[in-house]
Symmetry: C2
Subunit: 137 residues, 2 copies
């Protein structure tokens, strides 16, 4: 399941993608538009900024705007930024790999192989969902 953070991030990105080119959106505007608690959204926007999905302008008349094409922002990326690994176990993960502590023989985790199959399919599907694909519905 997605965390609220990841869900809100997607909704915020969706909101930004729907605005006119060059429009800068204030946090409160996004919060109201996408029904997200404002203070919570602040953190999320900072995370999105660190992840280089959005940028911000500070001070009066400041706000947030997309710096990555809505065609290039995928569900997979947002999942990883906020919720971490897409694989079902760390030992089956590409970006968050860790060996299992409870598997006796290293690399002979009985689940690993099967879970890597799942990961590949899920990842492929998640990379197919972009902000752009969610906007035009």
């Amino acid at each position: 399941m997605l965390s609220h953070k990841a869900k809100y991030a997607l909704k915020a990105l969706l909101y930004l993608a729907e605005q006119d080119e060059n429009h800068i959106s204030r946090t409160i505007e996004i919060a109201d538009g996408a029904n997200i608690p404002k203070k919570f959204l602040e953190q999320i926007l900072l995370d999105l900024k660190r992840g280089r999905f959005v940028s911000s302008k500070q001070g009066k008349f400041g706000g947030y705007y997309l710096i990555k094409s809505k065609n290039d922002i995928t569900l997979a990326e947002i999942h990883r930024l906020f919720d971490g690994a897409i694989a079902l176990l760390p030992c089956a993960s590409l970006n968050f790999y860790e060996p299992c502590s409870d598997c006796k023989t290293e690399d002979e985790c009985s689940l690993r192989h099967g879970l890597m199959l799942i990961r590949d399919k899920t990842l492929k599907a998640m990379e197919g969902i972009t902000i752009a694909s969610l906007v035009k519905k």
Copy 2:
């Protein structure tokens, strides 16, 4: 990600599936064999019993055994039993559906449609992973 409970459940089922027909496995035997904390495993086996994957014999010389074919126990089922919904949001879930609280117009969640696509693909993949498929590797 899978919880430890779900991971241990899979490993325990795998252990049971590898035993001879009619063999009854004690908790401690499974715990040692699959490297799972014994007391924790007790709870997990009870959950698996309630889910009708295994059955048990009580008292001295008691223990657990599979009552469902290893070909018919899928990753999807174990995920649902221990970790709940497979979909990324409740509003996109088949078995754990709940409407989003933060979507203004009911059934017009901007994410729902895309997440249902993911759910379908992930679910199909997870239904393809059975205990039997994990045993023969």
